[in-house]
């Protein structure tokens, strides 16, 4: 009996050694120069294979508001305008020219002539009007152009969008995939757009096949077919392109950067982003209705350290709710960590012995788990006991909208690239809780400035307004901005023309194999 036991244990030891040896071989091969050099997946017939976090939630542009959907919708549908990925300036897509009235209450649009949908039907002013009305009636994306009062069709290619109130950044809102122009017969199963690619087939939660639209109005650099595969794990996505299963890995883990950089056949594509990660207080709840407590917590946190550690040195510590690429971004350095000042403020507020609270985020976000652990550890220094709670995304959103949270982690994408989109919904008192003001921040002065900001066309005045708003928000500390994200993608070396947009959306028709 004893002999058998020893034999069993030895067998285990041998298996363990074998596994360890194999693992070492693998890593040596990856690091070794040239070992993987020529093993790129060959570009057969300009067929691009992308691995991304997931597929679109819905392929009807007016029924989706998540990034996975936005990536794919951008390929199949065209909005009236697009953002240039390098400059964040507005470019024309389905619109050929446009003119804003001086009081910012109406927008004349001339459509690009001769554009057809994937099924051959022509795009005219009437179709565009109906599509925009369809957006307005959507409970999900209707808010994007809720300021539109009515749309007049002037002739075949001309229409006028009349606004209920002056709204300067309307054209930027019309770059959002939620305002993309749809064929009236579009459904989730049968998306009919005007875009560069046509959806050929879809396998639920697995892959989408797209083929190039030969009648597209724009210029396709040389991709005939895209296979878009879902792969939720960042490490798995990277392994997939390392081993030749795909050409582009969408979103890679910051911690994998050195590995990609050391690899002969892979390139990292990095770009600044419009996404800011932050911690918000529920300012209607005690003790966070006391500004001294919020300031104390601000002084207790080491923002640069949080940003650097959790995001492995990518991106930058946040200096505003808006990232530097957003128009009217105003940089204010975060409060430097000062535990004495923090304890003093806690004592002034009557919490010298601290209190207990909760810090919540959605369980899908691994990096938030790291931020939360570090924040909780920093808060212990001023006697605050923050219990960490993770919720599944839907449950989390419900809690936040109901104001049940105390401290929470979230991010905001200023997807139009304009300060109004970033600040209005999140800092105007009309925005809580459903509009995005999850901190329940309310300041009449800020409200007035934000209202003026969206009705002013003068960009010098707007810069002034949004500078003031960002200063007021910093003083109020209803939100502690932690990190400006950086977009990180990896692609095999033969992929050219891969320009990463700060919004995260990538115009894959610019890509070609070289």
């Amino acid at each position: 009996m004893k002999k058998r036991l020893i034999a069993t244990l030895m067998l285990f030891a041998m298996i363990a050694a074998l596994v360890a040896a194999c693992a070492q071989d693998d890593s040596a091969a990856n690091g070794g120069a040239g070992a993987n050099g020529g093993d790129a997946v060959p570009a057969v017939d300009d067929h691009l294979i992308v691995v991304a976090r997931g597929l679109a939630v819905n392929m009807h542009p007016h029924e989706a508001l998540d990034m996975n959907s936005a990536y794919l919708l951008n390929l199949v549908f065209d909005p009236l305008f697009r953002l240039n990925y390098a400059t964040m300036e507005i470019e024309y897509a389905l619109a050929e020219s446009s003119e804003m009235s001086e009081d910012a209450t109406s927008l004349n649009i001339t459509l690009r002539p001769g554009v057809t949908f994937h099924n051959g039907d022509p795009v005219n002013a009437e179709v565009v009007r109906d599509s925009l009305y369809h957006t307005m009636n959507s409970p999900l994306v209707g808010f994007l152009i809720s300021m539109v009062d009515n749309i007049e069709v002037n002739d075949e290619l001309n229409l006028t969008i009349n606004l209920a109130a002056p709204f300067a950044p309307i054209r930027r809102h019309l770059t959002h995939s939620g305002t993309a122009i749809i064929h009236p017969d579009t459904t989730n199963d049968n998306p009919i757009g005007t875009g560069a690619f046509i959806q050929e087939s879809i396998v639920l939660d697995d892959r989408v096949e797209l083929v190039a639209n030969e009648n597209w109005w724009g210029e396709n650099a040389g991709i005939n077919r895209i296979t878009w595969r879902a792969m939720p794990e960042g490490t798995a996505r990277l392994i997939e392109i390392e081993t030749g299963g795909a050409h582009i890995a969408w979103d890679v883990n910051p911690s994998d950067l050195p590995r990609i950089e050391a690899h002969d056949n892979l390139n990292v594509h990095r770009s600044s982003s419009i996404e800011t990660h932050f911690m918000a207080f529920q300012c209607e709840k005690a003790p966070f209705n006391d500004i001294r407590v919020r300031h104390a917590i601000a002084y207790a946190l080491d923002i640069p350290l949080l940003s650097y550690t959790a995001y492995e040195g990518t991106g930058s510590p946040a200096d505003s709710f808006l990232t530097p690429v957003v128009v009217y971004h105003h940089s204010i350095a975060p409060r430097a960590q000062n535990l004495d000042r923090a304890r003093e403020l806690m004592a002034e507020a009557g919490f010298a012995d601290g209190f207990s609270t909760t810090l919540e985020f959605n369980s899908e976000n691994q990096i938030y788990a790291q931020l939360a652990v570090m924040i909780a550890s920093m808060l212990r220094e001023i006697n605050i006991d923050a219990e960490i709670l993770q919720f599944e995304w839907g449950a989390y959103l419900d809690r936040v909208l109901a104001g049940e949270h105390e401290l929470m982690l979230l991010s905001w994408n200023t997807i139009t690239g304009d300060a109004d989109y970033g600040l209005f919904d999140t800092h105007h008192s009309s925005g809580f809780p459903f509009g995005g003001n999850q901190s329940f921040y309310s300041n009449p002065a800020t409200d007035a400035l934000l209202e003026e900001g969206r009705s002013t066309l003068d960009s010098a005045r707007r810069a002034e307004i949004y500078r003031l708003v960002q200063e007021q928000a910093f003083e109020a500390a209803n939100i502690l901005n932690i990190h400006h994200d950086e977009r990180l993608h990896a692609a095999v070396a033969s992929v050219r023309g891969f320009g990463v947009n700060p919004t995260g959306i990538i115009d894959l028709w610019n890509v070609f194999f070289g």
Partner: protein
């Protein structure tokens, strides 16, 4: 079954000797003894976690950050290395044994108690009671356990309580079925008939005669169930809906480390090994117990 009948006449004395027999048989199996030793060792580690990896005064022993010391491979100072915050993984694995064992014991107590009651009533009374109870158990069995667990964990505040309920309800049918099956065989025995004939009440018969004779398979089931509970708790924590950070649950540690698995293998290796060893030991012990309780192997 001879000594079981004797039980009725001379309960206390014979019971001790029966347990003694079980222990004697158990002791003879080296596999079972190895399992037992490992489990006892783990329990000791869990009990003395605060001594092995003490707190620094402000932070619990498992959550002492040292960002200058991140991602250290195992070395003399940190025998299992450090994680992304420079926390000592050995300290976390040690404290993790406390969490896992605690969850396991509470889950087993919860599901065993309920399962035994349901199974005993269903088995002993039969007819309508059996139909209602066992159909209810069938309904529980028909729900995929991971789905049940995720729903419960999502509906409640995440933490120990939701894990206990989720895993406990998932495991309940196992105990109920085992219990019912053994009650069905026991209640046909002659000594039960004898108890009836001397006028014992049904409650007394269940308590004094049925339960003690059905307990062996339940004990075996509970040992295996402990392994099951620890594994499921780890799975739920891996998914982020179980034990919350910074509490070092082994499954949660695996989840934290998976992002770094290719560069810092030690972050997943040690919690993973802890789970594997624990489950393996419990299963070895469970097998040993089953054999030891089996009267057919008496000689």
């Amino acid at each position: 079954m001879g000594d079981v009948t004797v039980n009725v006449n001379n309960e206390s004395k014979k019971k001790r000797s029966q347990l003694h027999d079980v222990w004697r048989r158990f002791r003879k199996s080296p596999i079972a003894m190895t399992g037992l030793c490992v489990v006892v060792f783990m329990v000791l580690v869990a009990l003395f976690a605060d001594v092995i990896a003490p707190s620094d005064g402000r932070n619990p022993g498992y959550d002492i950050h040292n960002l200058g010391n991140r991602f250290q491979a195992p070395n003399a100072e940190h025998i299992m290395g450090t994680d992304e915050f420079g926390r000592d993984i050995f300290a976390r694995v040690v404290h993790g044994s406390r969490v896992s064992l605690l969850v396991g014991f509470i889950v087993v107590t919860f599901s065993m108690t309920l399962g035994v009651i349901v199974g005993a009533i269903a088995g002993f009374f039969g007819k309508v009671a059996e139909n209602i109870l066992m159909r209810f158990i069938d309904v529980l069995l028909s729900i995929p356990p991971i789905l049940l667990a995720i729903s419960i964990a999502a509906a409640m505040r995440p933490g120990m309580m939701s894990i206990v309920l989720a895993v406990g309800i998932g495991a309940l049918p196992l105990y109920a079925r085992v219990m019912r099956a053994s009650v069905l065989t026991v209640k046909e025995q002659e000594f039960i008939e004898a108890a009836y004939s001397i006028g014992a009440s049904k409650f007394r018969i269940i308590r004094k005669h049925v339960l003690p004779n059905c307990i062996a398979p339940i004990i075996v089931q509970a040992t295996m169930g402990l392994a099951y509970a620890i594994l499921w708790a780890a799975a739920l924590s891996f998914l982020g809906i179980g034990i919350q950070p910074p509490t070092p649950e082994w499954g949660a540690m695996l989840s934290e480390g998976r992002m770094y698995i290719r560069d810092h293998w030690h972050m997943v290796m040690f919690p993973g090994m802890a789970i594997a060893i624990m489950i393996f030991a419990l299963n070895m012990m469970g097998d040993g117990l089953r054999d030891a309780f089996d009267p057919r192997l008496k000689k």
